[in-house]
């Protein structure tokens, strides 16, 4: 995974709560078997509306999405994170993220930063009054800078560390192979196995 320390890019105000992953990427795009190439699928239904924020300049070049509360609810599809990244987003700001979406973001190097709703409102106003305003997100100091506003954001320490170091989870876990094997040896015999198949 690529390291993430700081990012500066155009902020995109998405004044909406409960943006579920079916909106971020409709199921019809989930038939693909690749992990990339989902930029066309991002917000596919909403992008058919000409007035949608990503169809307007300069927001179409945005890389910091600023959304309402409960972003990423619903389906566990990691494709939602892939689509945001493929489009060019590096950061999503919201006052509340769905658990699975936040986890998926952390695995893929997309920063899901929790910002207080009051600050989100101020950022929305700034972006709407001055379209094209760049937002700087600093993971080291856990701050967001937008115009004159400097706001703190929350992220759990472990995800932060992994993003800063660009570490791959599987590699980290496999360092504990001995402990996994030892746990496996102690599992009770009544626990089920899928093989051999019984019917």
């Amino acid at each position: 995974m690529e390291k993430f320390t700081t990012h500066t890019g155009i902020g995109v105000p998405l004044r909406q709560s409960n943006v579920d992953t079916d909106q971020i990427i409709p199921a019809v795009f989930l038939k693909r078997i690749t992990r990339t190439g989902f930029e066309d699928a991002l917000f596919a239904s909403w992008r058919k509306d000409e007035s949608f924020i990503l169809n307007r300049e300069p927001f179409s070049h945005g890389s910091v999405l600023v959304a309402g509360p409960d972003f990423g609810t619903g389906s566990s599809r990691e494709h939602a994170v892939w689509a945001l990244k493929d489009y060019g987003f590096r950061v999503v700001l919201s006052s509340r993220f769905a658990d699975i979406f936040r986890g998926n973001s952390g695995k893929q190097g997309l920063l899901a930063a929790v910002v207080a709703q009051d600050d989100i409102e101020l950022i929305w106003k700034e972006l709407e009054n001055h379209p094209g305003t760049q937002i700087t997100v600093d993971l080291t100091s856990k701050t967001v800078v937008c115009g004159n506003l400097v706001a703190p954001f929350e992220i759990d320490d472990y995800t932060r560390w992994r993003l800063l170091e660009g570490l791959d989870d599987i590699g980290l876990t496999l360092q504990h192979e001995g402990e996994i094997a030892s746990y496996e040896g102690s599992r009770p015999s009544f626990k089920p196995t899928t093989l051999p198949a019984r019917s």
Partner: protein
């Protein structure tokens, strides 16, 4: 201090305790796989040259992309077909047991696990699907994961996880006739909101939960994610054991006894403390239905479409306005006046034999409203066979409904079963998001009996709204003529 059910299952799976804010490393007992969220994970293993660590704790089925008609023919959509073929090739390469379309154990992954007896109390169960919470009905800690985590479990049979907070959802009392577990969970979500469960494992408890069948408990746990909770659980009891006994992968002999002795310990201790608590009075509950575009936007069926201005929060107001526009509904409209075009009985929420029986009991001997098309989609090939053995297929087809093959079907707009733009559906599924059942489609979430009654009347209805059927003595008696 005592521990909650969720904490007990968690503690029993810690391979390595996280230090300094690091997550715990948890062992995963069962990994369920389907075609949509696995191809990139298998590819990741291949690229890294890693084996799949425990094929014997992994099982796959085909459900999201599969058609529910003409299942003996090749899948028409080439991208769907490719995804299914990719799963088959991956399962063969990595030695994973697969129940493909046409197999007698094929079906929705969350119906298949319990039916095979693989879903058991005290297990950790994961799947690249948010409705994995379903399996918590057995007292398992079961949660949906993303594809990176799918690959992680394939490679290591573990997951690094931060401990959850716990929330007790206590439902006391007795449900009225015509009120079901679906109404309980829709009411819970309306109460705590779509984000209310974020960061929590929910434990459903209280007399109303204890009185429920396993199927009904699965319906409730299934929709925990719709309240934002990654997992929901019910402590195992005799109902659980009765459901499991004799299933193909349930323990046998001495193993059964050892398992029950362990399962009996899986309940929240009396002195345990939950981080949050919610109460619901089952006596007061009525059939529940959604009016908006997230599962928290629901009311009792006897109520009206709410006025967006009645919400205190600005975001909720804006969301309600947008939802009413999308749903083409006016505030103040009685829910029971809303005409629907399609009724969908199916999905991992409500496609089990008990759901089909409940709906069949409502429509038996009645005629479908002319304006309605009704799809009945059993959750698995086995449910379909069992329903047919009881003659339920005939009840539905004589009523005028379509009797389909097993799969996710119209729940998610990914296979051929979809709503047309503007079409309105009473659906027993779990999500009423914009476009969820097909682009431009409008969804009202309901229970199986409300779905069935709606198909009779053509407008959102509960069984109590139906005219009584003539009794057999009326029909037979000349005096009645």
């Amino acid at each position: 201090m005592g521990r909650t059910l969720a904490e007990k299952v968690w503690d029993a799976h810690v391979v390595r305790k996280g230090e300094d804010g690091q997550p715990d490393l948890l062992y995963i007992d069962l990994h369920l796989v389907h075609e949509v969220t696995s191809p990139q994970a298998f590819e990741g293993l291949r690229l890294a040259g890693r084996p799949l660590r425990r094929p014997d704790l992994t099982i796959a089925t085909e459900d999201h992309n599969t058609p529910t008609l003409d299942i003996d023919k090749p899948i028409a959509d080439p991208t769907s077909r490719t995804q299914i073929e990719t799963l088959r090739a991956n399962c063969k390469e990595f030695g994973v047991r697969l129940h493909p379309l046409g197999d007698k154990e094929q079906g929705i992954v969350h119906v298949v696990g319990p039916q095979l007896g693989l879903t058991q109390p005290g297990l950790t169960i994961v799947c690249g699907d948010s409705h994995t919470s379903t399996h918590g009905a057995f007292g398992a800690l079961a949660m949906g994961i993303g594809t990176s985590e799918v690959e992680h479990v394939m490679a290591t049979q573990t997951l690094p996880l931060k401990p959850f907070k716990t929330m007790a959802v206590t439902v006391e009392g007795t449900l009225k006739p015509g009120v079901s577990s679906k109404d309980i969970i829709l009411a819970v979500i309306a109460k705590i909101g779509t984000g209310g469960g974020q960061g929590y494992v929910l434990e459903y408890r209280g007399s109303a939960i204890r009185a429920l069948s396993m199927e009904a408990r699965m319906t409730i746990c299934n929709m925990s994610i719709e309240a934002g909770a990654r997992a929901g659980m019910v402590a195992p009891d005799q109902t659980t054991y009765d459901f499991m006994k004799g299933r193909p992968h349930a323990p046998e002999g001495a193993d059964w006894d050892a398992a029950v002795a362990y399962w009996d310990t899986l309940h929240t201790d009396e002195d345990a403390v939950f981080d949050a608590e919610v109460f619901l009075d089952a006596d007061e509950l009525e059939p529940f239905v959604t009016w908006g575009t997230n599962p928290g936007q629901g009311v009792s069926l006897s109520q009206t479409v709410p006025d967006p201005d009645s919400f205190a929060d600005e975001n909720a107001k804006a969301a309600a306005r947008r939802a009413l526009e999308y749903m083409d509904l006016a505030a103040g409209t009685p829910m029971k006046d809303i005409r629907v075009d399609t009724v969908f009985l199916g999905s991992c929420t409500n496609s089990r034999l008990e759901d089909l029986r409940a709906a069949a009991d409502v429509v038996r001997g009645r005629t479908k409203a002319e304006n309605i098309r009704m799809l009945v989609v059993p959750g698995s090939a086995r449910v379909r066979l069992e329903a047919e053995a009881e003659g339920l297929d005939k009840v539905f087809t004589e009523f005028g409904a379509e009797w389909r093959f097993a799969g996710c079907s119209m729940c998610l707009g990914m296979n051929p079963d979809q709503l047309a733009p503007g079409e309105r559906c009473a659906s027993t599924s779990n999500r009423n998001f914009e476009g969820r059942q097909g682009k431009g489609g409008r969804t009202h979430l309901v229970s199986p009996v409300v779905a069935a009654a709606t198909a009779v009347r053509g407008t959102l209805s509960s069984p109590s709204d139906l005219d009584p059927l003539p009794t057999s003595s009326d029909a037979a008696s000349p005096a009645a003529a």
